[in-house]
Amino acid sequence: MITLEQVIKELGSYDGRPIKIMEVCGTHTSSIFKHGIRSLISPKLELISGPGCPVCVTSALYIDKLVEYSLMEKHCVLTFADMLKVKGTTMSLTEAKAVGGKVRMLYSPLSAIKLAKEEPDTQFIIAAVGFETTTPIYALIMEEVIKSNINNIRLLTSMKTILPALTYICDNEKGIDAFLCPGHVSVITGSRIYEELVMKYQKPFVIAGFEGEHILGAVYEIVQQITEGSFHTKNLYPSVVSVEGNKKAQELVEEYFEEVDDDWREIGRIPSSGLRLREKYHSYDAGSSFAASQMDSPKGCRCRDVVLGRIHPVDCPLFHKVCTPMNAIGPCMVSTEGACGIWYKNGGKNQ
């Protein structure tokens, strides 16, 4: 049994070959700052952010559609807080609200049902955005909508799954040596989903929680695997992550949604990386589109390189100069889970 002090000592004095570890989830990015992890480990161990911010990879045209709905008579868009500030091609939902758009925050799935019952003449459009962690919530809403025979809720979906994105990165980005797998997503999916990636790409995939100790433990495990040249999925978050994951949530999602090729803002098309409502539930869909919608990034913005783990936010020429949370140019600066926003808020320019 190795103590935390020993782990910190070993990681601090690590002098082997440089290792680049991608933390997929924005919550990990925040936690790395919160616990001062970089100040504890050797500069040869580089932690780089990945594509794990759902808002950052949501197409601008999708946001345009939400804005359009919010401005339609007798319509109201329901969304989790993160989607409010991201701009589409013309404006964000916050800006739409300022010019009379009807947008409300969604705090829990049942609050949507309650609203729909209280205001039967309003057509509610739920902005169904998220990864595996949030999709069961939308499935739960669907279940309740059907059970209670509610006909004024529809979903505009842009739901994504993380595994195809990791596959894409392994195929296309050669510099990443190991992955710190998202803890919350893994609760739903189980640790099993990473097995095939380990087999195919021969890299460590380590699942960890969000405390400083968890992250240090995961980095230590990765260093061990790379030093020994033996790679496997390691679940360091067994209190909540099982091999099979949350079966009930998986079944619920399976009942209402099916895989579809989807577009990721800044990345492009990734096969089978999206979820849409199944054919038999299409009447509940508010016109979700999965067509290719690649648009040029704003001039100088390097969100694409940030999302793919090619650069740190501080390496973007716009970071902290023209692009700030108050005047965000790219999506990664807007969302609370976006790497640029997290770096900025934590004084990333001085890290």
Binding site: H35, G36, S39, L40, S108, N346, N350
Partner: protein, 325 residues
């Protein structure tokens, strides 16, 4: 009974509202004269401030908009080394507000004013269109008992104290809005007692501020800017209750950036730190006071993390939580 526009007419109904609610609860000889302005006798040097309150919901665990309106102004005066004496209260009331709600707010203001040792000596009432909401402005004056308190007066080697657990008002408001059931209660409270205890101990306070919107992190950054120094705090000393910590973990919040309504930060010379801490802990709203860190050289705020790492603490960016006070 609901308020309608005629309560704002300036006529009989306005007078009824003033007498049956505000005079009834705020009751004191200066106000009761009902002249155009209150006539006051004060010492030579006074502090004077104003604040408006738009919190939603109006009633929340641990307080209401009335209690907040008294504490907010009382605390701002206190932070400048003044003992608060007199407040004014301006009400903007939306039609549709229940009279019983106004009465409850007034009662709460009166109780808080009594506790804080201030009198509400002048006021104003307006009624506007709307759907049942109350907005309150309070202004106040206090007599200065300690001069020279300023965010620009912190010096290297000084010690930073915080008067108690962080994040409670923020979490209470959020819980109520999100209909989350928990035991979290707003910390809304008048802090004059802490100043009085510090003065008894003759603590030479360099700087004091109530930790409201923007949270502790914002104030620490203001110190580095204005006093041209660095700040180092210890994560291990950060006063946060287990319940707030759990709440923050679930919702991705950071107590360093959350609003409080009954907590202050004080900077004192190192030699007086223990004495100041004991004084705070003796007062009613300072029982969980801690020494959090110190003023150093440099120009930024750093936190030594529990694991021995270092984290830079920047300003709050973005909107925080709207209408929290």
């Amino acid at each position: 009974m609901k308020i309608n526009m005629s309560y704002g007419s300036g006529g009989a109904l306005t007078s009824k509202l003033i007498h049956e609610v505000f005079i009834k609860y705020f009751n004191n000889p200066i106000l009761n004269r009902m002249e155009d302005a209150a006539v006051l006798k004060v010492s030579e040097k006074i502090a004077f401030t104003t604040d408006s309150f738009v919190v939603t919901p109006m009633f929340f665990p641990g307080g209401d908009i009335g209690k907040l309106a008294v504490c907010g102004t009382v605390n701002d005066l206190t932070m400048m080394g003044a003992i608060p004496k007199y407040l004014t209260a301006g009400f903007i009331i939306e039609e549709g507000t229940e009279l019983s709600e106004i009465e409850e707010v007034a009662r709460s203001m009166a109780n808080t004013a009594k506790e804080a040792g201030v009198k509400i000596v002048a006021g104003d009432t307006k009624v506007i269109e709307g759907n049942g909401g109350i907005y309150i402005n309070t202004s106040g004056i206090g007599e200065i008992v300690k001069t020279g308190i300023s965010v620009a007066h912190c010096r290297q080697g000084d010690v930073i104290l915080v008067s108690g657990n962080l994040g409670e008002h923020h979490a209470a408001i959020m819980s109520k809005r999100m209909e989350i059931e928990n035991q979290i209660v707003s910390d809304c409270a008048p802090l004059t007692g802490i100043l009085k205890e510090l003065m008894k101990e003759k603590v030479p306070i360099r700087f004091m501020r109530d930790i409201t919107r923007g949270g502790l992190a914002t104030i620490l950054n203001e110190i580095t800017d204005s006093s041209h120094c660095g700040v180092v705090i210890e994560e291990g000393n950060l006063p946060v209750s287990a319940e707030i910590r759990g709440f923050c973990d679930i919702l991705g919040l950071d107590p360093l950036y959350m609003a409080n309504e009954g907590k202050l930060l004080a900077v004192v010379p190192k030699a007086k730190a223990k004495r100041a801490l004991a004084a705070m802990q003796r007062s009613k709203y300072g029982k969980n006071a801690v020494i959090l860190g110190e003023i150093t050289e440099g120009n930024s705020v750093t936190m030594n993390t529990r694991l021995g790492g270092r984290r830079k603490i920047d300003l709050l960016y973005g909107e925080g939580l709207p209408r929290i006070c």
